[in-house]
C-alpha cells in the first residue's frame, strides 16, 4: 500500500478475482441477475451512443474503399488516410496554428467591435423611443442587405486589408446583437420598471440592475447569433480576399488542387466553430448562475 503502484495492482487483483468468480456465478442464485441487470443497465446507457457510430463509420469505409479501389479519382476525393496525414502534418509543422491565430484575432476583433456597437445601438433604441423612431428604419434597411452585399462596396472604400475583414465581421455581428438587445429590452415587464421607479433608482441603476438582467436571455441569444454570423463572415471574407488565415488555407488548397488540404482545413473550421460555440454556452451557464440563487 506504500508504493504508488499499489492501487493499480489492487485494481487488477479485483478484476482477476471477478474473472475467477464469474464462472461460479450460476451456482449463486442472487449474484447472477444482479450482475446481468447492471450489465443491461450499462448497455442501455451505452446503446444510444453506440448506434450513432455505424453510420459515419460506414461512410468512412465507403470513402476509404472508393479511394482504395480508385472508384473516385484522388484529385476529386483524396482518401481519408491522406486527409488525416495532412491534418497531423499541419498541426506538427505549426502551419495551422499560424493561420488559426490570424483568423481568431480577426474574428474576435470584429466580434468585439460589433458587440459593442450593436449593444449600444440596441440599448439606445430600447430605452429611448425617440431615438428608436429616428434610427430604427435606417437600421432595418441597412440590415436587409446581407453581409456579402456590402463586400464589394467596402472593398472599394477601404481596400482589401485587415480593415475590410474586421468591418465586415463587425457588421455581421452587429445586426443580430442590436436587434435582440432592442427586442429584449422592449420585452422587460413594465412592472419591473414601476418597482424601480418606486425605489427611486437612478437611470444607471435602472439599466444595470433591472433592465439588463431582465433582458439577459434574449440579449445573450443575440450574442450567440452574432458570433455564429461573425464566424460565417470570417470564412467568407478569408475565402474572397486574404493571404493568411484558415479560410485562405482552404482557397490555397483548392487552387493547388490539393483537396486533402481543403478537407483538413474544413475539419479545423468546423471544430473551431464548434468549440467557440460551446465556450459561449459555458459562459452563459456561468453568467446566469445568479438566477438559481433566487429559488
Amino acid at each position: 500500500m506504500t508504493t504508488p503502484l499499489s492501487p493499480l495492482l489492487n485494481h487488477r487483483a479485483v478484476l482477476a478475482a471477478a474473472e475467477l468468480r464469474a464462472p461460479l456465478a450460476p451456482g449463486v442464485p442472487s449474484a447472477q441477475p444482479r450482475l446481468l441487470s447492471s450489465a443491461r443497465r450499462a448497455w442501455r446507457a451505452l446503446a444510444p451512443r453506440l448506434v450513432s457510430w455505424p453510420f459515419p463509420l460506414l461512410v468512412l469505409l465507403l470513402w476509404y474503399l472508393g479511394c482504395r479501389f480508385e472508384w473516385i479519382a484522388p484529385q476529386v476525393l483524396p482518401s481519408p488516410a491522406t486527409v488525416w496525414a495532412t491534418l497531423v502534418d499541419m498541426f506538427r509543422s505549426g502551419d495551422i496554428w499560424l493561420h488559426l491565430q490570424v483568423s481568431l484575432v480577426r474574428v474576435f476583433a470584429g466580434f468585439a467591435l460589433g458587440l459593442a456597437a450593436g449593444g449600444a445601438l440596441g440599448i439606445a433604441m430600447g430605452l429611448s423611443p425617440t431615438f428608436k423612431d429616428y434610427v430604427y428604419p435606417l437600421f432595418k434597411a441597412f440590415s436587409q442587405v446581407p453581409v456579402l452585399g456590402w463586400l464589394p462596396l467596402l472593398m472599394l472604400l477601404v481596400g482589401i486589408d485587415e480593415t475590410l475583414k474586421i468591418v465586415l465581421i463587425a457588421k455581421a455581428a452587429l445586426v443580430p446583437v442590436a436587434l435582440n438587445t432592442y427586442k429584449g429590452i422592449q420585452g422587460v415587464p413594465t412592472r419591473y420598471i414601476e418597482v424601480a421607479r418606486v425605489l427611486r433608482f437612478t437611470r444607471w441603476q435602472l439599466l444595470t440592475k433591472v433592465v439588463l438582467p431582465a433582458a439577459f436571455a434574449p440579449i445573450w441569444n443575440g450574442v450567440r447569433y452574432g458570433f455564429t454570423h461573425a464566424w460565417l463572415a470570417l470564412v467568407v471574407v478569408e475565402l474572397l480576399a486574404s493571404s493568411e488565415g484558415i479560410g485562405y488555407l482552404i482557397v490555397y488548397g483548392r487552387q493547388l488542387f490539393q483537396l486533402d488540404v481543403v478537407l483538413a482545413a474544413v475539419v479545423v473550421v468546423g471544430a473551431v466553430g464548434f468549440a467557440l460555440d460551446k465556450a459561449l454556452a459555458l459562459i452563459e451557464v456561468r453568467l446566469t448562475r445568479w438566477r438559481r440563487a433566487g429559488f
Partner: protein, 264 residues
C-alpha cells in the same frame, strides 16, 4: 411644460424615420457638389440614379436578377424539400435520429461557405455547383426547425388522436404537421434568408455566368462605384421582398391558428 420640448421630439413621429436617410443623402450630395474629395469613388446620387435607369432599360438588370433568382429558387426548393423530408424522418423516428442525428449535427458545425471549394471541385463552376451549394444552405435550417417542431408536438395531442383511432397517416397530416407548422415555417423562412446570402456568396466565389453578385464584382473591378451602390440597393430590395413574401405566406397559411384561439 415651461421649456419647449427638444427639437428631436417636435418632429412628428411618422416623419422621424426619414430624417436620418435624407440627412445622409444630403451630406452625400453636398460632398459631391462641393468637391470635398476628388476620389473617383465619390459619385453623385444622380449618377447612381442614371446608372440604375440605364442598367434597367438595357435589360442587363433583368438578365442578372433573373439568373440569380432562378438559381436561388431552384436551390431553395431542392434544399427545403430535402430538409423537410430529412427533418421529418429525424423527428418521427427516434431510431433514425440515434443512427444519423449525431452525424448530421457534426456536419452542421462546418461553416457554410467552407463547402464552396469542395463543391467547385465536385460540380464545377457552373449553375450545377451554385444550385448544389444553395440547396445545402437551405437544407440545414429546414432540417433543424422541422425536427424541433415535430419533437415538440404535445403528447396529449397524439394521445387524443389515438383515442379517436386515427390512422398513422391521419395522425401525421391532421395532428403532427399542423402542430409543428410554426416551427417548420420558421425554418423555411430562415432558409430563404440563408439562400439569398448564399446566392451572393456562390456568385462571388464561383465566378462564372451572370447574376447580381457578378454585377457587383464587375462594378468593383472596373471601379464603377455607381454600379456597386445600385447593386447593393437591388440586393437589399430583393432580400426585403423575399422576407416580406415569406412573412405574408406564413401569416396566410397559419391564419387558422389565430382564428381558433379568437373564437373562444
Amino acid at each position: 411644460m415651461a421649456r419647449p420640448a427638444p427639437l428631436a421630439q417636435r418632429v412628428p413621429r411618422p416623419l422621424r424615420g426619414w430624417v436620418l436617410p435624407l440627412g445622409l443623402l444630403l451630406v452625400w450630395w453636398t460632398a459631391f457638389h462641393f468637391g470635398w474629395s476628388t476620389s473617383p469613388l465619390l459619385v453623385s446620387p444622380t449618377a447612381v440614379w442614371e446608372r440604375a435607369l440605364r442598367y434597367t432599360a438595357s435589360g442587363e438588370l433583368r438578365e442578372a436578377l433573373g439568373a440569380s433568382l432562378w438559381r436561388n429558387l431552384a436551390g431553395f426548393a431542392i434544399g427545403a424539400t430535402g430538409g423537410l423530408l430529412f427533418g421529418a424522418a429525424l423527428g418521427f423516428s427516434r431510431r433514425f435520429e440515434r443512427v444519423v442525428g449525431p452525424s448530421f449535427h457534426t456536419l452542421k458545425q462546418i461553416s457554410l461557405f467552407a463547402w464552396i471549394p469542395l463543391i467547385s471541385v465536385w460540380f464545377g463552376l457552373g449553375d450545377a455547383a451554385k444550385v448544389a451549394f444553395l440547396s445545402l444552405a437551405a437544407f440545414f435550417p429546414v432540417v433543424l426547425n422541422t425536427f424541433e417542431g415535430i419533437r415538440s408536438v404535445p403528447r396529449e395531442l397524439i394521445e387524443v388522436a389515438r383515442v379517436l383511432r386515427l390512422t398513422r397517416w391521419q395522425v401525421l397530416s391532421r395532428v403532427a404537421l399542423p402542430s409543428a407548422a410554426p416551427s417548420i415555417f420558421a425554418g423555411i423562412h430562415l432558409a430563404l434568408v440563408y439562400a439569398w446570402l448564399a446566392t451572393l456568396g456562390a456568385e462571388y466565389l464561383l465566378v462564372a455566368g451572370k447574376g447580381i453578385g457578378n454585377t457587383l464584382i464587375d462594378g468593383r473591378e472596373h471601379l464603377q462605384m455607381d454600379l456597386v451602390i445600385f447593386g447593393v440597393i437591388v440586393v437589399g430590395a430583393v432580400g426585403f421582398t423575399l422576407n416580406w413574401l415569406a412573412t405574408q405566406i406564413e401569416n396566410r397559411l397559419l391564419a387558422w391558428r389565430g382564428s381558433t384561439v379568437a373564437q373562444f
